[in-house]
């Protein structure tokens, strides 16, 4: 076990900055790791002592997240996004190029401890792929020249803060706007409108008088924009009615679904709209504190978002007596994630906010009853909060007039893959997929993945379907695959993702995703038979009924869908017979043949040589 003396003074300073609070454990670990790029055992011990938790617990938390390292990981930790969109854009060759320029093997730390290069789950830059993270900061639009530049900067040990700013430029690629993306939203406008509506009705705010805002939410029929599509008005009402008066508003900015990047753009361009949404949510349900869970891969947004918050405090849109409304106190802070897709699941997210492993909770109770530290908590997606702000401003009827009766409003679609114009398209719900494909310039599309890895895969026969909850639901991710793509490899990429991201809590998903990953590997190696394909349906059924959360329940979707629509991609990889074991029986006798110096027919299995 590598040991090193950590800088205890640094650790103590970090702990103090976070008040020694256990809830801040993840933030403490992230910052404590900064100087050396890893957390030696002595650092874990020190932090455990400082926050008053058993050492094993702190180590358990640190070992859960991809971006925390309990072994040396190098001064520069380069992680290539390995989503299918990155691979389609040539990420693998660029990863090899960087490794060769730095004389380091993939997945290992260089001998001088300078750098490690490896892959990481989708970083949300699919419209400007391939992308990587270096010490948590994103660099997109990679090509040979940019890779060479990065290699040089690392070899010369230039501090990250001194790297050319252009390297870190992330584009928004907004292709079509609608109500959410339209410029000109005045910070605080939604809050002012909500308060004015309440005053006009003569009612008091928050606990007793916020009914009007919730009415508008219900009138709007807004459904959650994170993928699950829960009725927002019901969620807000549930929190409002909770017996416990200490309530929390949480913004789920852990956008980790592969192929999704719409929340990134909202936070980069429309932060005020989102924060207005959080604040009206607080107004509606009587919360005084809000938390934003920002995925670690969007670390570059942290400083700009904090500046927006500082400005809003100065202008009176956060803090005490917001907009002059006595008793309307609300403020919020941003917590970083550290590389764990499962933390996008609302209850796992709350666990992570409490400084623990991101393991989804048992239900009941629901989060609006027992959430953050046992208090009623509303967790909403970034885009949901932005939409809620517009509803507070324009009213629910205005919102419901857009889209379809069951899927009201507009939706940000994050389009990537084989198309001329990847990026963000804000369209009314009910828009046919074909319209989006035409607008983005889809090239000879063979298949489209709707809703990211846990969504559905559709082929040409279904391009006429409409994007809405009643037809083709989506969190917004739309990924185009042209006719040169191997849909088996697409499914395999998603399968590996779920196996990597499973939190491991329940037998079903922990072992089930690993079994599916191995099964796909067996097919890829040309060692699978028809028997193996039949196992997929059985695994899918088990994962759908006995998983702790939707990760497990969705994990087989990519294989099930592509098997149904692109069966030849699987069939041509199958062995002739029904079943072969995963290993080569004849080859397993090789050691015995070598030891005895035999290669005659009797030293091989029947029929082979």
């Amino acid at each position: 076990m590598p040991t090193a003396t950590p800088d205890l003074a640094h650790i103590d300073a970090v702990v103090e900055r976070y008040g020694g609070e256990r809830s801040n454990l993840l933030q403490i670990l992230i910052e404590a790791q900064e100087p050396e790029g890893w957390l030696p055992p002595a650092a874990i011990t020190r932090i455990a002592q400082a926050v008053g938790w058993p050492r094993g617990r702190v180590e358990g938390v640190a070992s859960f997240y991809d971006f925390l390292h309990l072994r040396p990981a190098g001064r520069y930790r380069v992680r290539f996004s390995d989503n299918i969109t990155d691979q389609m854009a040539g990420s693998e060759a660029l990863l090899d190029r960087l490794c060769s320029q730095l004389w380091v093997e993939r997945g290992k730390v260089s001998e001088d401890g300078l750098v490690s290069v490896d892959s990481t789950s989708c970083t949300g830059m699919c419209d400007q792929a391939p992308a990587l993270l270096v010490n948590g900061y994103a660099i997109a639009r990679l090509d040979a020249a940019r890779i060479d530049a990065i290699a040089a900067l690392i070899r010369e040990r230039i501090e990250l803060a001194q790297w050319p700013a252009e390297l870190f430029r992330i584009d928004d690629n907004v292709r079509r706007t609608g109500p959410l993306l339209a410029p000109g939203f005045a910070p605080g406008a939604a809050i002012a409108a909500a308060i004015a509506r309440q005053r006009a009705a003569g009612a008091y705010l928050a606990h007793d008088g916020s009914a009007l805002l919730v009415e508008e939410l219900k009138r709007s029929a807004l459904l959650g924009r994170g993928g699950a599509g829960f009725t927002v008005g019901i969620k807000w009402d549930g929190c409002r009615r909770a017996a416990d008066r200490e309530r929390f508003v949480v913004c789920n900015a852990d956008e980790g679904e592969p192929c999704t990047f719409k929340d990134r753009v909202l936070l980069a361009r429309c932060a005020d709209l989102v924060f207005d949404g959080m604040t009206v949510a607080a107004y509606a349900c009587g919360a005084q504190r809000g938390l934003v869970y920002l995925r670690g891969e969007y670390r570059h947004l942290l400083a700009p978002l904090r500046e927006v918050l500082a400005r809003r405090r100065r202008d009176g849109w956060l803090g005490r007596a917001i907009a002059g409304e006595p008793g309307f106190d609300f403020d919020l802070e941003i917590h970083l994630g550290a590389g764990a897709y499962v933390c996008g699941e609302a209850s796992a997210l709350v666990e992570s906010l409490e400084g623990k492993r991101g393991v989804p909770r048992n239900r009941p109770p629901r989060l609006v009853e027992v959430g953050y530290h046992g208090h009623p908590t509303m967790v909403n997606n970034v885009e949901t909060l932005a939409a809620a702000a517009l509803i507070a401003l324009h009213g629910g009827a205005w919102f419901a007039a857009i889209g379809t009766p069951k899927s009201t409003g507009s939706k940000l679609m994050a389009v990537s893959g084989d198309c001329e114009r990847p990026g963000i398209y804000e369209v009314p719900f009910g828009t046919p997929l074909a319209e989006l494909l035409a607008e983005c310039g889809a090239r000879r599309p063979q298949a489209v993945q709707v809703g990211g890895a846990s969504g559905r895969c559709v082929d040409g026969a279904e391009f006429g379907r409409r994007l809405c909850f009643e037809d083709l639901p989506t969190n917004g991710a739309i990924t185009v695959f042209d006719d040169s793509r191997d849909m088996f490899e697409v499914a395999r990429n998603f399968t590996r993702f779920f196996a990597h991201e499973s939190c491991g809590f329940c037998t079903t998903c922990r072992v089930g995703t690993a079994l599916l990953d191995r099964l796909m590997g067996k097919i890829a190696a040309g060692r699978a038979g028809r028997y193996d394909l039949e196992r997929v349906g059985e695994l899918n059924r088990l994962l759908k009924i006995a998983s702790q959360c939707e990760l497990g329940a969705s994990a087989c979707n990519p294989v099930v869908d592509t098997l149904a629509r692109f069966r030849p991609a699987y069939e041509r990889r199958l062995l002739a017979g029904g079943f072969e074991p995963i290993f080569d029986l004849d080859r397993s006798l090789l050691a015995a043949r070598l030891a005895t110096g035999r290669d005659d027919a009797a030293a091989h299995l029947e029929g082979r040589s």
Partner: protein
């Protein structure tokens, strides 16, 4: 208070009416009423966990984990069906291939819950390819052996160490298929923790992962815990009976 206070609430389990006390989970009420539902990570002395998923049942048509689901009056619960037992068999087989469970040489054989549940569900093979993970054995402690090959991640030792022993010798680390039991020392060795042989955490391990040294194979075959009775009978005997005082379960 009248003796004729409201009768205990009931739900149906496989067509049979089960009385339950407020606060009981479906699994607790079922076991107390004499109906066995297979389970591994549930233990009557600790808060329910919900990770093994063997106790999965159908409640009013929806799938649920019975050890974490509060019982409600009027529920229709389905448990002992061929389909559900088949799913449980798959889960047990998955546990077997995930670790290295070699019963013929294991000191816990005959006393092991994983093995007993497997027998009860009629498992005759593991079906899936074995993972053969490379897991260590920690023999650092003078009296205790930690064999991680056999750990089924039920977290009973974690819960016991925290809730009963007032320590936290055991914790969970890693993620996904890499999830593993870890101990509360900087070296990572059991010998450097404050574990004691008398700890509840040591006694509660349902499999052969936490063992006392030098007592292996002390009980002859035929006299072991599960030689006499299958687990389905023993789990019922261990189940607390909170309604016993109020009224006998029908």
């Amino acid at each position: 208070m009248s003796e004729l206070a409201a009768a205990p609430a009931t739900f149906t389990l496989d067509g049979r009416e089960i009385a339950f006390a407020p606060g009981q989970t479906v699994l607790q009420a079922a076991l107390a009423a004499g109906c066995y539902v297979p389970h591994l990570c549930y233990h009557p002395q600790f808060r329910p966990h919900g990770s093994c998923k063997l106790c999965t049942v159908r409640i009013d048509g929806h799938w649920a984990t019975s050890c974490t689901r509060p019982a409600r009056a009027g529920m229709t619960v389905e448990s002992n069906s061929e389909e559900i037992n088949h799913q449980r068999l798959l889960l047990v087989q998955m546990l077997f291939v995930e670790g290295n469970h070699f019963c013929p040489s294991c000191e816990k054989s005959g006393e092991c819950l994983l093995q007993a549940v497997a027998y009860d569900l009629g498992m005759v093979s593991t079906q899936f390819d074995h993972f053969f993970p490379d897991r260590p054995v920690d023999a650092s402690h003078p009296q205790l052996l930690l064999d991680f090959n056999r750990c089924i991640l039920c977290e009973l030792c974690v819960r016991a160490s925290w809730e009963v022993d007032d320590k936290q010798v055991f914790s969970i680390g890693g993620r996904g298929i890499g999830k593993r039991l870890i101990v509360n020392s900087e070296s990572g060795r059991l010998a450097d923790t404050d574990v004691a042989v008398s700890d509840k955490a040591v006694q509660v391990c349902p499999v052969g992962a936490i063992l006392r040294k030098r007592v292996g194979f002390a009980t002859p075959i035929g006299a072991r815990r599960f030689d006499a009775e299958p687990i389905s009978a023993q789990a019922l005997r261990d189940a607390p009976r909170p309604l016993a005082k109020a009224r006998e379960p029908t």
